[in-house]
């Protein structure tokens, strides 16, 4: 009997050890696992497209708006970071406390708008492509080095752009250049100094430039994906931020000389009569992907942008309205002739009647988009930007006349009113700076550039133009808080966001911005 038992046990053990290994091997039936991914060029393409698509992702917690658990979407942050500390917007009545604090220069590390998570998510997607795509070259014979280079240039450029947003908003930030593929890649990471981050951005863009595509074959892809000229444009912007004007001019010239872009016809002044192009708003903003666009995030009917509930006057959830002074001060109104107006003003950037931010929600000068048509693109860069960046760099290098020439060109297209012409002399560098800053405010109203423009001009030459910031604060901050807001602005660290509390808690190498400590 004992023998039988022993045999029985032996057989049992044998069965156990041989079959259980396979039996316990289970794979998910939804989703693709790493073991099956990174094998073909189509998969690389899908991963690169995934970077762009992820930039359009909705907030993971849309119902938590106003709560501390709210994580804004990336597209929302492009706006909030670029505009809400500027002087063109004002909080609407039902805006959250955190949004108001941003305006009032009272940002705390608990402010949900300082959560940089959506940016690093995109950076990780770029890092993943940069790390894994080259492996595919050996596995897929139809995958060429050229197309790998094209994909890599896109990943490097997007990564640079994300870091550019981070470095302008936070100053020093952690520089994560490797992909997080497994739980063995999640060590804490310390901040890198601003200068090092900027150098990395330049290095990434320089690496991407020669590998980049000049033409994808369709206008939508040329505007919706990174091309060589997109990279030049970003580089120009980065150089301006770094006060490297000659380099900025070189990059702008590369874009201008490509002859691929132009300004969409807006207003033409014949004598004293102004003729307006009725399709201007439609071509440039409503449809997008016009000749003027350089890089636009391609929201469409499938994937709507998050701006409708934020700006639409028909929504009680509206968070932001235009700053009341915008029509009187920024665009100005010609009271003697109502046919003489800046084409960018009422009915384009704003709708004065409802104080609305109109660029993203308007179907025409007066009609609102339907909710399901809220697919206005987010404009990273337009050709007008390249022109005005060049003007800015020229002015700094002493070529004031050439700069003014460009500025007036841009003004002419829009029929900027004479009241906004500062009439500087080519030698008056400071006044031209003011002129450019004001013109940028009109041209890129609500396009997420205002705060960065103010800060760039203010910090130039070791903050010689700090009053620009103080003036902006006096426009946007309620009078009872202005004094303390301006006092805070004297500490340069306050120009950068605090590191979000949960980041401080989960990364013990981070050091808080000293202003918020």
């Amino acid at each position: 009997m004992k023998k039988t038992t022993v045999y029985f046990l032996l057989i049992l053990c044998l069965i156990f050890s041989s079959s259980c290994k396979k039996w316990l091997e289970l794979k998910p039936q939804d989703g693709i696992i790493k073991e099956e991914f990174w094998k073909t060029k189509e998969q690389v393409n899908a991963a690169v497209i995934g970077i762009y698509a992820s930039m359009m992702e909705s907030s993971p917690t849309p119902n938590d708006y106003g709560l501390k658990s709210y994580v804004p979407s990336l597209a929302e942050l492009f706006f909030v970071w670029g505009e809400c500390r500027g002087d063109n917007v004002a909080p609407a009545t039902l805006v959250s406390g955190d949004d108001i604090e941003l305006v009032n220069v009272n940002t705390q590390p608990t402010n949900v708008n300082t959560n940089w998570r959506p940016f690093y998510r995109i950076i990780n997607l770029c890092n993943t492509v940069i790390e894994k795509a080259p492996e595919v070259l050996a596995l897929d014979n139809t995958f060429t080095q050229t197309s790998l280079d094209n994909y890599l240039s896109e990943a490097h450029a997007v990564r640079a752009l994300m870091y550019f947003y981070l470095v302008r908003s936070f100053g020093d930030v952690p520089l994560k250049l490797t992909a997080t593929l497994s739980d063995r890649n999640i060590q804490p990471l310390a901040k890198s100094p601003k200068a090092q981050v900027l150098d990395q951005i330049v290095a990434d863009l320089k690496l991407a430039e020669p590998k980049a595509v000049t033409n994808y074959g369709s206008p939508a892809s040329d505007k919706g994906r990174i091309t060589k000229y997109t990279i030049n444009t970003i580089l120009a912007d980065v150089y301006l931020w770094m006060d490297k004007y000659a380099e900025a001019i070189t990059e702008c010239n590369k874009v201008i000389n490509s002859q691929r872009y132009g300004l969409i016809k807006g207003a033409t002044k014949i004598g004293s009569v102004v003729e307006y192009n009725p399709d201007w708003f439609n071509t440039l903003y409503y449809n997008g992907n016009s000749n003027e666009g350089i890089f636009e995030l391609q929201f469409d009917a499938q994937k709507l942008n998050p701006y409708f509930p934020i700006f639409s006057p028909s929504f009680s959830t509206r968070r932001w309205v235009m700053n009341p002074q915008i029509m009187d001060v920024v665009f100005t109104v010609d009271f003697t002739n109502d046919q003489n107006y800046d084409i960018r003003a009422d009915g384009a950037s704003v709708r004065a009647a409802t104080s609305s931010i109109w660029k993203y929600v308007g179907a025409s000068a007066t009609a609102l988009r339907a909710t399901d048509q809220s697919f206005a693109h987010w404009f990273f860069y337009r050709y007008a930007d390249v022109l005005l960046m060049k003007a800015e760099a020229l002015n700094e290098t002493g070529a004031g006349a050439e700069a003014l020439n460009i500025i007036y060109n841009v003004r002419k297209r829009a029929n900027a009113l004479d009241a906004t012409d500062l009439l500087p002399t080519p030698a008056d560098k400071t006044l031209i700076q003011d002129f450019i800053l004001q013109e940028r405010s009109r041209e890129f109203c609500f396009e997420g550039k205002r705060w960065y423009d103010i800060l760039r001009f203010a910090k130039r030459g070791n903050y010689t133009r700090l009053p620009i910031l103080l003036n902006a604060v006096s426009t946007s901050v309620p009078s009872n808080l202005q004094q303390s807001a301006q006092a805070k602005m004297l500490d340069y660290n306050s120009h950068y966001f605090p590191i979000y509390l949960s980041e401080m808690q989960t990364n013990n190498l981070l050091v808080q911005n000293p202003f918020y400590r």
Binding site: F16, L26, F119, A179, S221
Partner: protein
């Protein structure tokens, strides 16, 4: 005729004998009579082979005669009949058997327990006296009296170290069962249920997430009818649970259901009926008081008045009839959503059996209506347990259980703990508003009054709770079938036994919900209007168990040994699909299959499959020497598909000892001492993650394209480091039994150390590109002690007094934790938040905040004063007033604001003024229950208590902060209103100020003693029963939650901490004391 038959038979038999003699086969015949000489009809006569297998059989006729043909003379003959003792005789050469059967009393009625009770760990039976581990048993009798829809409710408070709390008072609400605290900072903590020796799933896969459902939806999973249960054993220490390996880290509940026994069919009927009465809740403001408070609190904000043409809710203008009528009421929203709850529970069971087959069959019906409108639960369950003895060697056991559950819940849950629930909403809803809408002429209509928005906000912040309870639908339909088959084979009789089990579990749950327009009041373009949802999860699992038990009889009786080997497999598959649409054309179209709006990120149609498999092999043995030294050891190996190849297998050994001191010579002569034993054990159990496929790096797609091309992104990183969470338990215990069991005591000291503790959703630094991760984060201790005493101080024939008592203490300590884990929680610059710190090597539960010193009565009081009590003077000689959070917040305190102690006297209230406020880990908790039996009447009572327990009175905070347009308690009537007022309630201040910072104002000691239940049970006399033709009859009445003795000012001091994280503290948000419940019950046997 009779003669003829008999004669014919005899001739026939004779002939057969001749034939049989030739082939060693005979015909046997005979007659069966009882002691009085009367023939017995219907006796089953079986011919058995050497193994006791039935070869052929017959039964006796009216005259008691029987004949069996073709019987081999080597075999045996067995005669059995209900009510008589079974007789087995060898046939030998005999052919005629005239047998007298003796009456048997023992076979009838209840089986008299001769031996000491056995305890069951689900695999082997071990005499309770010889247990080496910490286990505790509760039997069916004790469970019967409670009005409980499921066993978990019935167990509440009965067992030491077992903490069971309800997640809400609603019908079918899930219970949290915790055995010796939570073993992880992030796990459900639900113990493993072993039903008749097989694991019984109570959790659904973590990946599955019903639209709006929470854990409550799955309460039906534990629906084993209490009436079917024979006993429940709780395995508490790790050595006891180690044999259940991978799923036993949270303890094990071993449930045995009733089985048939030999005897006439016996019919049992039990009935329970109860009424739940809604207790008086905390007094709230009426409409008039509310309408006075709010404009005042609004103007305090910044001096601007509440514009009553904009906020017409407070206008009270009869010329504006629509607003006037709808907003000039004194509505009691709580009453509007409450009702008296009731419960009825009927169970009918039939047991019986003969020598070969035994059965237990039951059918039950349960019906409960909750105290909140729109909550009810109906359940039908049936069970058949069938035992069949094929031979002495082979037996099989089959059972099939079926449960059908139909539950209606509130769309948003209805526990009072949170604002988002219906009851929570009823508390904050403005009382001047009408339940039903008045039209513009001031006539009351039958429509619910659900404006799209008003001063309180809009859905989901605010809604009409009555409309939500009444018109919104949330139903959970559950079907569970558990068929089971077991075969039991004695390889060597009484020495080596093999059993093989297979169990199927088919568990289907369907959740459907509908949110009609009238409940939210929102316009038809929004997705919260007519939102229909359907979610279906079908779980199929197959488990097998192969068990070999070796129980040799040794010649030297000093040694006894027992060994077993078990092999278990489990294959679990869950298929789910969900669909949610919105804006169906009418509130009558409640199904998502109706064409309706689908395009929106919240709306969805998803489906999926999850599968997991596990294997386990156990080798165990128990050895005892002279009944004095007992050693038990086992090892279990586990394999699980939820781990990657590196960590797929886990090994869980255990060892435990018992030293029976009372058998030693130095105690031998103490007569009164039955048993005195010391026990020690050490064991390891493991736990698997809640989710499948975690170790894969997965890529997902979006539901949209970019430039028409599909996009893929990594949705989860690869978890290479994910390994078993293991629990290393040490337990030292003692058992004492005195005076023939009249005084018994169990005492245990334990430490459960959880290593490689799981954390689900550990927040990652955003820099990684991922938001959270499932990770092994650290080591935590769960330590404490528990003592349980059972006594019978008086034991006479007609009069018994019993007194049971249990007390325990448990604390959690983090020993080691990942750097990624946050080390503090709570922002003290935010109203209502307490600071909690994670301190290595310190028990959980401490919290910190400000010291509340009352209310600034006037401007002078707000002047900042230094340590010497003199006003602080600014650089320009100006007066400095007290401020909060300088320089970043810099709020200057105003008269009427809450005053906090400026601990460092710097004129600035900030984090430096935060002090220790309390600890919400009870020092002691337990229960005791005196009982008295006098003749046929038995009165049992049960009390439970908790000592030294600091609680944040969240109800006080929410009902007196006057921070929103929410209704408040009547305490705010004594608020500060004008300079000079001296009070403890600050001024109303909507959306501003710092009047309700986390301070000791809301911290209270919630020690309590609660008279939880009293039951009076009457067992009817045998004489009366005989007259009524009953076998047994008893009736009882139970009252629950009668009195609570406490100094706590809140509604319910018995609050459990929510969640498992190290920052958990006890928040009490309850607005009503627990319901008083009266139950009537009846147990009848026929």
């Amino acid at each position: 005729m009779k003669f003829y038959l008999n004669k014919k038979l005899i001739i026939f038999s004779f002939f057969m004998i001749l034939v049989a003699a030739a082939s060693a086969q005979v015909v046997i015949k005979g007659k069966v009579i009882d002691k009085a000489g009367k023939p017995i009809h219907g006796v089953s006569i079986s011919v058995l082979d050497a193994d006791g297998r039935i070869l052929t059989g017959a039964s006796s006729d009216l005259e008691g005669n029987f004949v069996i043909k073709n019987v081999d003379t080597k075999n045996k003959i067995s005669l059995s009949s209900i009510g008589y003792k079974t007789i087995t005789q060898n046939i030998g050469g005999r052919t005629t058997f005239n047998i007298t059967l003796e009456d048997s009393q023992t076979d009838l009625g209840e089986v008299v327990v001769v031996a000491r009770p056995n305890s069951n760990n689900g695999l082997v039976n071990i005499n309770e006296r010889n247990l080496t581990t910490a286990v505790q048993r509760i039997n069916a009798k004790e469970l019967e009296e409670m009005q409980a829809s499921s066993i978990d409710q019935a167990l509440q408070g009965r067992l030491s170290g077992v903490d069971i709390t309800a997640s809400s008072g609603d019908p079918g609400a899930a219970m949290n069962i915790r055995i010796r605290g939570v073993s992880s900072i992030n796990s459900t903590g639900i113990p493993l249920i072993i039903l008749d020796g097989m694991p019984y799933d109570t959790e659904i896969p973590g990946d599955f997430n019903f639209g709006t459902a929470d854990e409550q939806g799955y309460a039906q999973l534990l629906n084993i009818s209490p009436a079917d249960i024979k006993d429940i054993t709780v395995l508490k220490d790790a050595a006891a649970t180690a044999i259940w390996g991978s799923r036993a880290a949270n303890g094990v509940l071993v449930i045995t259901t009733k089985r048939g026994s030999v005897g006439k069919p016996s019919l049992n009927y039990t009935f329970k009926g109860s009424l739940s009465l809604v207790p008086e809740s905390i007094p709230l403001l009426n409409g008039d008081q509310y309408s006075t408070l709010m404009p005042e609190a609004y103007i305090n904000r910044n001096g601007s008045t509440l514009n009553s043409t904009v906020f017409r809710e407070f206008n009270y203008d009869p010329n504006d009839p629509y607003w006037y009528h709808n907003y000039s009421n004194n509505t009691n929203w709580i009453d509007a959503i409450s009702r008296t709850g009731y419960l009825q529970d009927h169970t009918l069971s039939l047991t019986g059996g003969g020598e070969k087959a035994k059965y237990f069959a039951s059918v039950g019906y349960f019906d409960q209506k909750g105290i909140t409108l729109g909550t009810d639960l109906q359940r039908i369950n049936t069970r058949i347990n069938l035992d069949y003895t094929v031979s002495d060697k082979i037996k099989f056991f089959t059972s099939i259980a079926y449960t059908h559950t139909d539950q209606s819940r509130n769309y948003l849950g209805s526990s009072s703990s949170s604002e988002s629930t219906i009851r929570g909403m009823a508390y904050i809803k403005m009382p001047n508003m009408s339940v039903f809408e008045y039209d513009a002429l001031g006539n009351l209509t039958t429509n619910y009054f659900s404006p799209a928005s008003n001063v309180q906000g809009q859905y989901s912040r605010i809604y009409n709770p009555v409309a939500m309870a009444d018109k919104a639908i949330y139903t959970v339909l559950g079907e569970r079938v558990v068929p089971r088959f077991q075969i039991n084979y004695d390889i060597i009789k009484k020495v080596l036994n093999a059993t093989f089990d297979v169990q199927f579990d088919i568990n289907n749950t369907k959740n459907s919900s509908f949110l009609p327009q009238i409940a939210t009041g929102r316009p038809n373009t929004e997705t919260v209007v007519n939102r229909a949802y359907d979610g279906d999860i079908d779980v199929f699992s197959v488990s097998t168990k192969t068990n070999l038990a070796y129980t040799p009889t040794l010649k030297n009786t000093n040694h006894t040994i027992l060994g077993f080997m078990t092999f278990l497999t489990n294959d679990y598959k869950a298929v789910y699909q969900e669909a949610m649409t919105s804006n169906t054309a009418s509130s009558l179209l409640v199904d998502p299959s109706v064409p309706s709006r689908t395009q929106n990120s919240e709306l969805k149609a998803v489906s999926g499959v999850n599968q997991s498999r596990s294997l386990g092999a156990i080798l165990g043995s128990q050895y005892s020497f002279k009944d004095k030294y007992i050693l038990n050891a086992s090892i279990r190996a586990d394999g699980n598909s939820r781990f990657g190849t590196d960590y797929r297998y886990g090994f869980f050994p255990s060892v435990s000892l018992r030293w029976r001191l009372s058998e030693e010579f130095f105690f031998k002569n103490i007569k009164s001492l039955d048993d005195l034993s010391l026990r020690a054990s050490y064991g390891i159990t493991g736990e698997i993650p809640r989710y499948d496929y975690l170790f894969y790096n997965t890529y997902s797609t979006y539901d949209y394209t970019y430039l028409g091309q599909s996009a893929i992104y990594p949705s989860r990183m690869e978890l290479k480091n994910l390994k078993w969470q293991s629990l290393h338990g040490v337990n030292i215990g003692a058992n004492v039994s005195l005076y023939k069991g009249r005084v018994r005591m169990d005492a245990e000291v334990y430490r459960n150390r959880t290593k490689d503790m799981f954390f689900d959703g550990l927040q990652l630094s955003g820099v990684t590109g991922f938001s959270s991760i499932f990770m092994n984060v650290g080591t935590m201790d769960n330590q404490g002690w528990e003592v349980a005493i059972w006594t019978q101080p008086v034991k006479k024939k007609d009069f018994i007094i019993g007194f049971d008592f249990n007390i325990s203490s448990n604390e959690n300590i983090i020993r080691e934790i990942s750097d990624l884990y946050p080390n503090s929680k709570g922002d003290v610059t935010q109203n209502g938040e307490y600071l909690r710190l994670l301190q290595i090597n310190n028990p959980f539960g401490s919290f910190y905040g400000y010291k509340f010193k009352g209310v600034y009565s006037d401007k002078d009081a707000t002047i900042a004063r230094g340590p010497d009590g003199k006003p602080i003077i600014g650089p320009n000689g100006q007066i400095i007033y007290m401020r909060f959070g300088y320089p970043t917040i810099d709020y200057i305190f105003q008269p009427g604001d809450a005053m906090y102690e400026d601990v460092n006297h710097d004129g600035n209230i900030n984090y430096m003024d935060v002090v220790y406020l309390g600890n919400s880990n009870p020092k002691l908790s337990g229960g005791f229950g005196p009982s008295v039996t006098y003749k046929n009447l038995k009165i049992t009572t049960f009390f439970n208590f908790r000592l030294n327990y600091d609680v944040v009175n969240g109800t006080k905070m929410n009902t007196s902060n006057m921070y929103r347009f929410d209704n408040q308690s009547t305490a705010v009537l004594r608020r500060w209103r004008k300079e000079g007022d001296i009070t403890d309630i600050p001024r109303g201040l909507i959306n501003g100020g710092y009047n309700w910072l986390g301070s000791d104002n809301y911290v209270e000691d919630a020690s309590f003693l609660r008279f939880r239940t009293i039951t009076a049970r009457y067992n009817f006399d045998k004489k009366i029963l005989d007259k009524l033709k009953f076998k047994a009859l008893s009736a009882y009445i139970t009252a629950e939650n009668l009195v609570t003795f406490t100094k706590y000012t809140g509604q319910d001091p018995e609050i459990s901490t929510r969640g498992a994280d190290p920052f958990r503290i006890a928040y009490d948000f309850s607005m009503t004391p627990p319901s008083r419940i009266v139950t009537l019950g009846l147990v009848a046997g026929f």
